[in-house]
Amino acid sequence: MKKHIIGAAVALGTLISTVSMSFAEELLVPHLTYRVGPFAANGTMGANAITDYFTMLNERDGGIGGLKVNPEECETGYNAQKGVECYESYRGKNPLMHIPNSTGITLQLLQKAPEDEVPIFTMGYGLSAAAKGETFPWAFNYPASYWSQMTSILSYIDSETGLKGKKIAFLYLDGGYGREPLPLLDKLEPKMGFETVRIPVAFADSQNQGSQWLTIRKEKPDWVIMWGWGVMNITAVKEAAKTRFPLDRFIGNWWSGGHVDVEALGMKAKGYKASNFTPAGRDFPVVQDVIKHVVSKGLTKTEPDMPGKVLYNRSLFMAVVMAEAIIEAQKLTGKANVTGADVRKGFEMIKLDEARLKELGFEGFTPVIGSCADHEGQGSIFVQQWNGKDWEKITDFIPPMTDIVQPLLTEAADTYKSDKPGWKTQNCS
């Protein structure tokens, strides 16, 4: 018994000493991961990619501005409660930003971040209205909000078959993420003259979508747009094939267009489309660098065939935007050891235009150009199609319908702050 007590005491002692260790000279970039839970497949790949990129920077350039980056992970299991716990655990350690990696967690952190002065960066997810930098000084959702993406997809549909008088089924994961575009659709339907049928898929039914697809058969929509994630995607594509829905009229958002969503189906998924802003492929110089400096040296848990897949490249891109914000912050302050508040300014000054992207080895990715007022960058997307073996880019960049989305975002941002007395805004003019 005594032994056990001593053992526990020793363990606790080490724990305490490590926890209370003051932060060394390094750049702490925590990111919340989900290596367990229902979305673990995607989460693991994303987490590895972010870590890999920073490891690569450490190996190749010695970090950022001479300081090593510590991309520390905290496991959430895609659970909002655990996400908050993770967030709390970084208090006082000078985290430069938070990467919630879940729309649900983002919603919880949005309110906390301004008080703690740590920016929240949600690439391709999170609250759409956070695009409005004046209302949400501490949140960024480069390169485009869900709403912008939706209008890009709609303009793609418009260019293919015309939009007016068409019936569109919107198949979405029933949660904060999937419901994000609903208010936008409410507004757009009368304005653009199409009709939507909304079909939620409860998380528990992700793998059991028989009824949803029967509903689609009943409604006979011209197009199906999907906001899915994880195993819901592959099930939906499978069911679509089963119900003989033409797959080239079935278009997923950027979280529904990974390799993992269609690879197992192979030719059966041929024709399925998805939007994207981070092209797949291993030929990008940056992917090669990661393979050279990290993967082949065995410094990572990434499996060798992962780099180049859609979601892996997306997380690399996420990491490069994060790194870029730190670089801008260092430029701005003139010191290497920046703080969360500095990085926030860095995010606003981000200028990842085509030239800079090429320099970094990301040619062909969506440019990200931020400003004080615009925290989404209004980036364009392209549409890709599964050819049975790989994703093929089939369109050029399609810009969002800025004139429609921006006023709606402003409206949503105003509604958000209206019931929050004392909400901190900033003035950009």
Binding site: A80, G104, Q108
Partner: protein
């Protein structure tokens, strides 16, 4: 030696029935009070970052203790099993949200009590089948509550005021000139509020359980037919257990969202949380208030510690530690059910017994 009752004579029944009849207990409680009211809010927990200690350990622990108390009333004292705890806590949280948004000037305490009452009503409705059935049959009834209510939290947009995110978020709200909830509230304020709520609710629970209603619950639990024969009305006893339990759980749910998380989606009330609360009750000890404390703290803190130790000492990654704590929790349940069905509370009693004799066992 350290814990002896000899020499402490009671000359009135009232003294015998006091909450803490022993002098040693009073000292212990006194120390606890000093710790929780003064030491922890001032210094936090040893070795841990102050905000982390408050936000990720102290406040959630206290919230979960209230949750566990509520479930223990139903499961431990009244013997009715429930897997709908998560959903009932959601009812409390959504009710609280509606109250403070419909009536912006409402006092937080009143809103809290009201949301507890709403949760109690819902609990009674789903508890109705318990009048006809028990045991496993009731599990399915409470599962119905669990799945139906979480569905409603998503589908009924009125519950979250039709906002785009579908989440309920705590606005900044004052009481007596201090911001109590919302992002601008200080961790310490919320800590004190939850602490006081916890003490009040514990006091209430311990007295209700010792009183007429509590005894009727235990009689129903131990043998319903005999209880009925000596004049306990099962209808009143069972439904009051459901009401009381859901009242506590509802309040805990509201506290969880508005005094701890700050915002929540329907997933914060899903079935996995129901299991978590059930584990807290089982590990702490069925039918014990002390056990509720121990169970909640144990189930919440141990995985956090395991993760930290695993990460910093052994360098295991999150994947391994997460699975390890899931296995550990499941195994704990089995071991406790086999070896000590009364959980940690019983172990505490045994310790007290030992302390009474130590160091001169006879």
């Amino acid at each position: 030696m350290f814990y002896k009752e000899t020499g402490q004579f009671k000359s009135r029944y009232k003294d015998e029935l006091a909450a803490f009849p022993l002098f040693e207990d009073k000292i212990g409680i006194g120390i606890l009070c000093v710790l929780t009211f003064l030491v922890i809010p001032m210094f936090g927990l040893p070795g841990l970052n102050y905000e982390f200690a408050m936000g990720a350990i102290m406040i959630p622990c206290m919230v979960f203790i209230i949750m566990t108390l509520g479930l223990n009333i139903l499961l431990g004292f009244a013997g009715q099993i429930s897997l709908g705890t998560g959903a009932f806590s959601g009812v409390g949280a959504y009710a609280f949200y509606k109250f403070i948004t419909i009536f912006p000037d409402i006092n937080i305490i009143i809103a809290l009590v009201l949301s507890g009452l709403v949760s109690a009503v819902v609990g009674v409705i789903f508890g109705l089948p318990s009048l006809k059935i028990k045991g496993f049959y009731l599990i399915v009834a409470t599962l119905a509550a669990q799945f139906f209510l979480t569905w409603a939290f998503i589908r009924v947009a009125w519950l979250y005021n039709y906002n785009a995110s579908g989440a309920i978020e705590g606005p900044n709200k004052e009481m007596f000139g201090i911001i109590m909830i919302g992002p601008q509230s200080a961790g310490m304020t919320r800590y004190y509020f939850v602490l006081v709520t916890l003490i009040v609710l514990t006091w209430l629970a311990s007295n209700v359980i010792r009183g007429r209603i509590g005894r009727s619950w235990m009689m129903i639990r131990d043998m319903d037919i005999a209880a009925e024969l000596i004049g306990i009305r099962p209808l009143v006893a069972k439904l009051s257990a459901f009401a009381f339990s859901s009242f506590y759980i509802g309040i805990a749910g509201a506290l969880m969202v508005f005094f701890w998380l700050g915002a929540a989606e329907a997933e914060s009330f899903d079935i996995n949380h129901s299991f978590l609360y059930l584990f807290m009750v089982i590990i702490g000890g069925l039918g014990s208030i002390t056990g509720s404390y121990m169970g909640a703290i144990f189930v919440w803190v141990v995985p956090v510690l395991i993760k930290e130790i695993g990460k910093s000492v052994f360098g295991f990654d999150a994947f391994v530690m997460e699975n390890f704590s899931t296995i550990l929790l499941g195994a704990m349940i089995i071991i406790i059910l086999i070896l000590e069905p009364h959980g940690l509370a019983r172990l505490w009693q045994i310790t007290k017994q030992k302390l009474r004799l130590w160091p001169f066992p006879y």
